[in-house]
């Protein structure tokens, strides 16, 4: 369960986020949708405690991300945008490093690493150094290491960016599996169709503010647009620029 309560964040004169609030409940997929530069990444970075909000608060399963960062981080698996691997380590070692840092016991750790390699279909390249990995392979390994400690909340920043059809499909399957397991999934995207196909709840952000927070059907109804893309554009227009 992720709760975001009226957060603000500026970088110098740029007001990246100007009062964003939403909830992402357990067992549901919440999509953060918005054009480039809308403040999606900044919001997510606040949630995985890499940035501190200027105002407002956010919590992961009740743990505040600012005052109780360590506990909050225990409850999340995060895939930042453009996350990189260690090129000299194999896929397995990359995953095991994170498992180790998360404090998993040796026996559980091996079991978990094997399990996640199986789940994400990494087996074929698990023992190769990650230097020459394709973008899809890199994303899989980054995702695997983010999930290795079995977090209740999963935060993915534009995970499908640059993936081919097959990789996107297996990512979608994985997200649905996590949902069935009762996890809270929050992911960002700028592709309306992708979000509509997966999400129970869609939060559209533009100019650092929430334009609309509803289900796909609800968004269609409230914007009076049948086509989701039109609805997306209409929703964005509802937010006044700075």
């Amino acid at each position: 369960m992720i709760t975001v309560n009226d957060i603000y964040k500026s970088f110098g004169k740029v007001h990246a986020v100007r009062g964003v609030s939403f909830d992402a409940p357990d067992g549901k997929i919440t999509g953060l949708l918005g054009p480039n530069g809308a403040g999606k990444s900044t919001t997510l970075r606040v949630l995985y405690t890499v940035l501190k909000p200027d105002q407002g608060s956010a919590s992961i399963d009740g743990a505040d991300v600012v005052t109780n960062g360590l506990i909050a981080r225990q409850g999340i698996g995060a895939l930042p945008h453009g996350a990189g691997l260690y090129p000299h380590l194999t896929a397995r070692e990359n995953i095991a490093y994170y498992a180790n840092l998360c404090g998993l016991e040796k026996a559980t750790q091996e079991e978990r690493v094997e399990g996640i390699i199986e789940l994400l279909e990494i087996r074929d390249f698990a023992d190769r150094r990650s230097k020459g990995f394709s973008h899809g392979q890199r994303t899989k390994v980054s995702l695997a290491r983010a999930l290795v400690h079995n977090p209740q909340n999963v935060i993915l920043d534009e995970p499908s960016n640059g993936l081919d059809v097959m990789a996107t499909r297996s990512l979608r399957d994985l997200i649905l599996k996590l949902k069935d397991a009762g996890r809270c999934i929050l992911f960002s995207s700028h592709v309306m169709q992708e979000v509509a196909a997966l999400c129970d709840d869609i939060v559209i952000i533009a100019n650092g503010k929430v334009a609309i927070d509803d289900s796909a059907d609800g968004i269609r109804r409230r914007t009076a647009c049948d086509d989701l893309e039109d609805a997306f554009v209409r929703a964005i227009e509802m937010v006044e620029p700075e």
Partner: protein, 392 residues
């Protein structure tokens, strides 16, 4: 603690697999420095040694005017050969570099000698050319001693003791020891060691900070449920491990290189046995923490690998400054110098090579002050990882 150990092991393994890091840590610093040093020293020793033994051929214009002088030169290992036709041709030959030194004996030389007025000879050389100047000096010395012999003979002929020309007899007593003399030459080795030590950790310091950010692996790392200070400490510790190995290797390779330097022929016996090797390691060891945390700190502020490299090359040079200043001013070790890192290590090391008794007070101050500064920098690094600005 577990985070610290995990990060330490991961960084060590990761960087051992990186050829560039390995090459700079284990080959560039430790092997290159001492080898270069041994090569240069060997070359200069060989040159200065065979200079005295090597017969020197000097073209002389007008040999027929001074047959006795020619014999005298020959007896001093200087071969007299036929030179250019006249004075102008001689000057041209030296200017062009065909000959290094040319001696001219004018026609009136014999007459002037007989009349007991100063007889003129001319020595043509290029004083800006060090190699040629060395040859010219040999000829000059031979001429001077010939001149003194003649003067002595003239005095004896007039019934005067040649001793009147030597009112003062200077007897020099040299208290320098063979190991002390070697310190002149080997003193600069301490910089090689500090350089090797820093080189050993440089790429780790970059890779674990700017490199990690550039790769995009820093953000997911910071999103993990770990104390961030411990991440930083693990990284600095891994850097220290590489630096320590690099230092040990460079000390050992210098130990081996010394065996191939004919220093005894210069009257130098460096005090650099296995026990001094261990002592040198211990004296330099506190500098490891300081170097690692300083490089990590500097690299943390940079945005990219390249930028970090630029800044760290300045850090590599910085420790020379105090050593250089003290060497130029030839200051003796003093208590207050021991508070200055790199300088204190240099002075203690020179003391070891000179085989001077170890000043426990100096060692204690050097170790504590260097460790204290290193500790403070490490603390700043650990604090830095809590700042979000680190992600740029």
């Amino acid at each position: 603690m577990r985070t610290f150990v995990t990060v330490l092991f991961k960084e060590v393994i990761d960087n051992i697999r990186d050829r560039r890091t390995l090459a700079s840590a284990l080959i560039m610093g430790p092997l290159f420095g001492p080898m270069l040093f041994a090569f240069v020293i060997n070359l200069s020793i060989e040159r200065s040694l065979d200079d005295l033994e090597r017969p020197l051929s000097v073209p002389v214009i007008g040999q027929e005017h001074a047959p006795n002088l020619m014999r005298y030169l020959a007896s001093h290992n200087i071969d007299v050969v036929v030179g250019p036709a006249d004075r102008a041709a001689g000057i041209d030959a030296v200017t062009l570099g065909t000959h290094d030194v040319i001696l001219i004996v004018p026609e009136g030389f014999g007459q002037q000698l007989a009349d007991a007025i100063p007889a003129k000879v001319e020595l043509i050389s290029d004083q800006a050319n060090t190699q040629a100047e060395r040859d010219a000096r040999r000829v000059r010395t031979a001429l001077r001693s010939y001149s003194q012999e003649l003067a002595a003979i003239r005095l004896v002929a007039r019934g005067v003791s040649p001793m009147v020309l030597r009112p003062i007899n200077v007897d020099e007593i040299d208290v320098s020891t063979p190991s002390g003399r070697s310190a002149l030459l080997l003193g600069m080795m301490s910089y090689f060691f500090i350089f090797a030590l820093l080189m050993g950790g440089m790429y780790l310091a970059i890779d674990t900070t700017a490199g990690e950010r550039e790769r995009g692996s820093l953000e997911p790392l910071l999103a993990l449920p770990v104390t961030r200070g411990q991440l930083m400490l693990g990284k600095i510790a891994a850097t220290c491990v590489f630096m320590a190995v690099s230092l040990m290797l460079s000390l050992c390779s210098f130990f081996v290189a010394l065996k191939f330097m004919p220093l005894e022929q210069l009257g130098m016996t460096p005090n650099f046995g296995p026990d001094v090797l261990v002592a040198a390691f211990l004296v330099l060891a506190p500098f490891i923490l300081l170097g690692a945390s300083l490089m990590t700190l500097v690299a943390s502020f940079t945005k990219s690998y390249k930028e970090a490299q630029t800044w760290l090359s300045i850090v590599l040079v910085a420790p020379t400054l105090p050593i250089l200043i003290v060497s130029i001013l030839t200051l003796r070790p003093q208590l207050e110098f021991m508070f200055v890192p790199s300088l204190s290590q240099h002075l203690l090391l020179v003391g070891l090579i000179k085989n001077e008794p170890v000043n426990i007070m100096h060692v204690a101050i050097s170790v504590t002050s260097t460790l204290a500064i290193g500790g403070a920098l490490t603390w700043i690094c650990a604090r830095l990882y809590r700042r979000e600005g680190l992600l740029g």
